[in-house]
């Protein structure tokens, strides 16, 4: 085995991490928007919440400090992330493929993290337990991801609702995951596959001693490439989902000063919209436009 594999893994993970950070930065940099509405604060969407009303149901709501992250809400969020509860409720035929796919990815992530942990703790006895867990996670993760990605791709091709909206990129994405899992699994079934613990240890600590089956090697390279590629596609929805879906719908009151400063900056922007009623003329700020009356402007220009 060359050093290519460990390098592929670390580059893949590194690019992935960097990509995610970039993505977070990109969303965080967008200006603070107007409040669009209270929806969908996901916590309220679960079956747990008996009553889904908001503080607007009170006549004196503005005097109350409101909104706390409740246990219910956090539990709902976790259910949504790990069990895809939202999809379960509204689109079960898709859930039956999407859930194994996502669960597989989570398990692979867990398997990878546990492997890292195992390497760190390898002088201790606990390492054996960690590696065992890692192995179970990785193994289950590979199968579930394989199963899920093939199912999702199949649905994309055969389902009349999805087909018109399926682009080559979708199939390549899913195909990439399926192929990586398939190759790794196929290789690991061969007799030349060394024990899990040794393999992981060698891969993560740049050792050349091991000989892995070619299929597994190719699978690992593709898998690492996919990891690096995720943040640059729609598959990064988990990042934005957290930011806009869970954080953005929070209460304004707590961050009043920040928001006021941000709004002052927004209102100072000079828009260049061309329609005559906006009367932007390139030299007016949003604040000026907001307090101008297009009717009087119209009269003057006539």
């Amino acid at each position: 085995m060359t050093l290519l594999l460990p390098i592929a893994i670390y580059v893949g993970l590194g690019v992935s991490l960097l990509g995610c950070l970039l993505r977070i930065f990109q969303y965080a940099r967008t200006p603070v928007p107007l409040v669009w509405d209270l929806l969908p604060a996901s916590g309220e969407e679960t079956d747990h919440a008996e009553h889904r009303g908001s503080y607007f149901e009170e006549t004196n709501w503005s005097k109350h400090p409101h909104h706390e992250h409740s246990f219910c809400e956090i539990s709902a969020m976790l259910q949504d992330i790990f069990l895809l509860h939202g999809l379960w409720r509204i689109n079960r035929p898709l859930w039956q493929w999407s859930f194994p796919f996502h669960a597989g990815l989570y398990l692979l992530l867990a398997g990878g993290s546990l492997s890292g942990l195992g390497v760190l703790f390898h002088p201790y006895a606990i390492a054996a337990v960690i590696f065992l867990l890692a192995r179970i996670c990785a193994w289950a993760g590979l199968w579930l991801t394989l199963f899920g990605s093939i199912g999702l791709a199949w649905r994309r091709i055969t389902d009349a609702n999805l087909r018109p909206y399926t682009v080559p990129g979708d199939l390549i994405n899913l195909g990439g995951f399926a192929l990586a899992c398939l190759l790794i699994l196929a290789g690991s079934l061969s007799r030349t596959m060394p024990p899990f613990q040794e393999t992981v240890f060698a891969l993560l600590t740049f050792q050349k001693i091991l000989q892995l089956p070619v299929l597994t090697q190719v699978g690992i390279v593709i898998g690492s490439a996919m990891a690096g590629y995720i943040p640059f596609t729609q598959m990064a929805h988990f990042i934005a989902k957290y930011i806009t879906y869970f954080l953005e719908r929070r209460e304004d009151a707590a961050m009043k000063a920040t928001i006021q400063a941000e709004m002052a900056r927004n209102l100072a922007y000079h828009p260049t919209w061309s329609a005559s009623h906006i009367a932007a003329e390139g030299n007016k700020s949003w604040a000026e436009i907001a307090i101008s009356n297009p009717i009087s402007a119209e009269r003057i220009s006539k």
Partner: protein
């Protein structure tokens, strides 16, 4: 079997509609709505309209965009659209919604989970163009190709599209085939918001190209900023009308009804949708009765925009939205009132209680809340003597999307109805899962050509079905029934829907607001306040 309409069909060069709406395809079927209509669902467009206007989407036409006379003019319009598209994705031009916009553009996985949530898509017999994701997909492909300047790789990753004038013209119309009810956003597993994107598209057309329905712009926000109200009522007219309402209400209730005007320092400034005063005067009248009976120090304002809570800008144009909203808050500030209460109008609730919040400074941020909350407080304060038996007829409740789904004011109206309406029953589904009346997003007041047909045949179809189902135990014309719709927009749409499907004659279903039911139950009011013969 119809051909599946693809995203690429938007750029089709011929002027045939992408789809035709035939009655037998629409769901639920006309027979379950109690009608035997067959054939095309919409009255055909007039030949002169087809000749001079762009109407190659679906057999109706809300905007009457003039056909360009030459290829050069087409090119200019496409260039204008493109520059608007680019601006939509810049912070200088669109800080207001850029974050959610980019989020939905880049993350939607096109899983189509939202399609079945859309009443327009369902009612149309699942016409492809009405899918929440169809219009979004067009915009998404334009975004990756023309804003992100993606090449071949991007086309392969996100899909390709050809930008031309037919596409732009169709997209303009398509942005007004959405009620902005956001049921699709509510069910989206990743929180993408296809409803918002219809709104953002409308902004390109309005803010860059000056294309908007005249009902929303010229006779909407512009008229409001000119004379004070989208109804065209100047202060003198609104005062005259309210005086008439006071007299009428005094006669009908047997109580002395007086509406105070421009009271400085009042506890409550009530702002109605001014359309109520003209079209449903019992509603503002009922508020006068209830507020006076509860001893509240309240007032109306006769300042420009102070007597009309509507803000059509919310539906199509950020500049117009901020102008109107700030004017309304300014009125309250000048009058030094303690609180603003918004009358029974959904989008006015949202614009003044939610959307304007961050741009109003401390001085303008006067506490404001819903008239529904206030009614609930009054009903349960014990200040009114209520006799629920006066409301002893089947009543169902329409949940306005803005108030219920988007602001989560769910229970107060139900608490009231449970207290005063013994035969109240819910629609299925209701609450935050409700369906739009079909008039949301400004559509209720669009009436160009045969657009009214489209609203009643397609957009409102689901709601009509829900209403008839809610009254399935008492259909027919012998038992009078009432749809309580605490929103002017819903009422306008339900009125048109009922008249189109002949519901009053066939089923004796009346519609109206919430406050009217409270007054109808007041023991000190002359019995029979509700006027069943009126409509």
């Amino acid at each position: 079997m119809k051909d599946v309409i693809r995203v690429s069909d938007m750029s089709r060069r011929n002027s045939d509609s992408l789809c035709t709406l035939d009655e037998p395809d629409l769901k639920p079927s006309p027979s379950s709505l109690g009608s035997v209509k067959e054939g095309p669902a919409l009255t055909p467009l007039k030949p002169e309209v087809i000749q001079c206007c762009e109407c190659s989407l679906d057999g109706t036409c809300a905007l009457n965009i003039a056909r360009p006379k030459s290829r050069e003019e087409e090119d200019r319009l496409v260039a204008s659209f493109l520059s608007g598209l680019e601006k939509l994705f810049t912070r200088e031009n669109n800080w207001t919604f850029l974050r959610f916009l980019v989020y939905t553009m880049e993350n939607c996985t096109r899983c189509q989970s939202c399609s079945d949530a859309c009443h327009i898509y369902e009612a149309s017999g699942r016409q492809e163009i009405y899918r929440p994701t169809y219009r979004t997909e067009v915009l998404r492909r334009l975004y990756f190709k023309y804003v992100k300047h993606g090449g071949l790789l991007s086309a392969w990753q996100h899909g390709d599209i050809e930008l031309n004038w037919p596409l732009v013209a169709r997209l303009a119309e398509l942005s007004y085939r959405c009620n902005l009810c956001r049921r699709c956003a509510q069910v989206c597993p990743i929180g993408a918001d296809n409803g918002l994107l219809a709104h953002e598209l409308r902004k390109i057309f309005s803010q860059e190209m000056g294309i908007h329905p005249k009902e929303l712009h010229d006779k909407g926000t512009m008229l409001q900023l000119k004379v004070g109200s989208t109804t065209g009522m100047p202060a003198a007219a609104v005062k005259d009308n309210v005086e008439f309402i006071d007299e009428d209400m005094s006669e009908r209730t047997g109580l002395e009804v007086h509406t105070p005007w421009d009271v400085e320092g009042a506890d409550v400034l009530l702002i109605h949708n001014a359309g109520e005063i003209l079209a449903w005067p019992e509603n503002p009248g009922a508020y006068a009765v209830v507020l006076n009976a509860a001893g509240i120090r309240w007032t109306l304002s006769s300042e420009l925009a102070g007597y009309d809570a509507v803000n059509y800008g919310l539906w199509y144009d950020d500049a117009q939205f901020t102008r109107v909203a700030l004017k309304q808050l300014e009125v309250a500030r000048k009058l030094k009132v303690k609180k603003i209460v918004i009358g029974e109008c959904g989008h006015a609730h949202k614009s003044l209680l939610v959307n304007v919040n961050r741009i109003a400074d401390d001085e303008l941020n006067i506490p404001r809340f819903s008239s529904i909350d206030l009614l609930r407080d009054i009903v349960f304060s014990g200040k009114l003597k209520l006799d629920p038996s006066r409301n002893n007829f089947p009543i169902t409740l329409q949940d306005p999307c803005a108030i219920v789904r988007l602001m989560r004011i769910i229970e107060p109206q139900r608490e009231i109805l449970h207290a005063i309406a013994p035969r109240f029953r819910e629609m299925t589904p209701h609450g935050v899962d409700n369906y739009c009346c079909g008039g949301g997003g400004g559509l209720a007041i669009l009436n160009a050509n045969n657009f009214g047909d489209w609203r009643s045949e397609v957009a409102g179809r689901k709601k009509l079905d829900q209403i008839l189902n809610a009254f399935s135990d008492s259909l027919g014309s012998s038992i009078p029934k009432y749809v309580c719709a605490p929103c002017s927009n819903c009422k306008g749409q339900i009125r048109d829907l009922f008249s189109y499907w002949n519901i009053w004659e066939r089923n004796r279903i009346l519609y109206g607001g919430l406050a009217e039911l409270v007054v109808n139950a007041m023991a000190e009011v002359k019995p029979g306040f509700l006027d069943w013969e009126w409509r």
